[in-house]
């Protein structure tokens, strides 16, 4: 992910509203992807998490010390907002949706509907059965390409443990896809 230029970041840190808006435009799509997938496709929930994340960014941006890249810090803030939100589990009514329950897909995908509906539904079903942090990890690593070392720092886990967890998760996903595939055969 491309980092925003230093000048805009410095101005945003000093409270420049226009610079903060540019910051938001630059990073909003990737924060949205994380929030959307972590909230299991619930757009209202994802929007609330994203709003909380950017409010925190605005409040604590002045204290950002450049110990890491800005995107890493933003990931960290987003991750904590996601965890905070789902700690209040009662708000999330789809949390206990089981694998076989019918799933309503939220609108069309970015590919303009090229992906067959059944395949999208299968993917959504698999994702819904995962925990929020597994979904976060999957999106951050497989979609955004965040290095394992950075991701481990964001999630507060050991790099080795993260790699093992990711390997198990991908194996589990593959197994489910295979079962579905063999079922269709």
């Amino acid at each position: 992910m491309d980092e925003i230029d230093d000048i805009t970041l410095e101005r945003a840190k000093r409270g420049d509203g226009a610079a903060f808006r540019r910051l938001y435009e630059h990073y909003s799509s990737f924060v949205w992807r994380l929030c959307y997938r972590s909230s299991n496709g619930d757009a209202a929930c994802a929007e609330e998490i994203m709003q909380n994340a950017f409010v925190k960014v605005h409040r604590y941006l002045g204290g950002f010390l450049r110990g890491s890249t800005f995107s890493t810090w933003l990931y960290s803030v987003t991750y904590h907002c996601i965890n905070e939100y789902f700690a209040k589990a009662a708000k999330y009514r789809l949390r206990n949706l089981s694998f076989d329950d019918e799933v309503r897909l939220p609108g069309t995908d970015a590919g303009g509907g090229r992906v067959p509906y059944e395949d999208r539904q299968l993917v959504e079903r698999i994702l819904r059965s995962l925990s929020e942090s597994d979904r976060f990890m999957l999106v951050a690593r497989e979609v955004e390409g965040v290095p394992y070392e950075e991701l481990a720092g964001i999630m507060g886990v050991n790099v080795g443990a993260l790699r093992t967890r990711m390997a198990r998760l991908k194996a589990d996903i593959r197994e489910r896809l295979e079962k579905q595939y063999l079922g269709e055969q």
Binding site: G17, R21, Y24, S28, S29, W32, R33, Y36, R37, A43, E47, M50, Q51, F54, V55, H58, R59, P106, G107, T108, D109, A110, G111, V115, D119, R120, V123, E124, I126, L127, L138, V139, E142, V143, I173, R174, L177, E178, Q180, Y181
Partner: protein, 138 residues
């Protein structure tokens, strides 16, 4: 579609999400403005309490002391009066004692005074104190 293609598709769909909804930035800015106002109001209220309460106590205390002094004479004057009766203190420092005549010429010259004072200084002072409503008589 084979399993590998399906897996690849899985990760494609993973990254394919709807567009970022409109209006989030405005909500963020509104929320930031609201929390800023609330924080400033709380800080102002705390500062006000931190200064007003001690200031009120000081003013209240000063008012009480002034009211007491008006009614009963200054506490300092009272204290000095008792010191004077005991033979200590500087007469010139306190106006209460201005019109009390003290004949200390005998003490300076070392001889007995020619004329005794019309009234002992202690009696003059006691009279002045009783005029103000204070007396050390039992």
């Amino acid at each position: 579609m084979d399993i590998n293609a399906r897996e690849k598709l899985f990760y494609e769909v993973l990254g394919a999400v709807p567009e970022v909804p409109a209006g989030v930035l405005e909500k963020v800015e509104r929320s930031v403005r609201r929390s800023g106002v609330k924080r400033r109001a709380t800080l102002a209220a705390c500062l006000l309490l931190a200064f007003i309460i001690p200031a009120s106590l000081v003013i209240f205390n000063m008012n009480n002391r002034a009211a007491y002094a008006d009614d009963h004479g200054s506490m300092d004057e009272l204290l000095y009066a008792f010191e004077f009766l005991n033979g200590d203190g500087d007469k010139d420092a306190y106006p209460l004692l201005d019109d009390i005549q003290v004949d200390d010429s005998a003490a300076v010259a070392g001889a007995a005074p020619q004329q005794p004072p019309s009234e002992p200084a202690g009696n003059q002072l006691t009279k002045k104190l009783s005029e103000k409503g204070l007396s050390n008589e039992k």
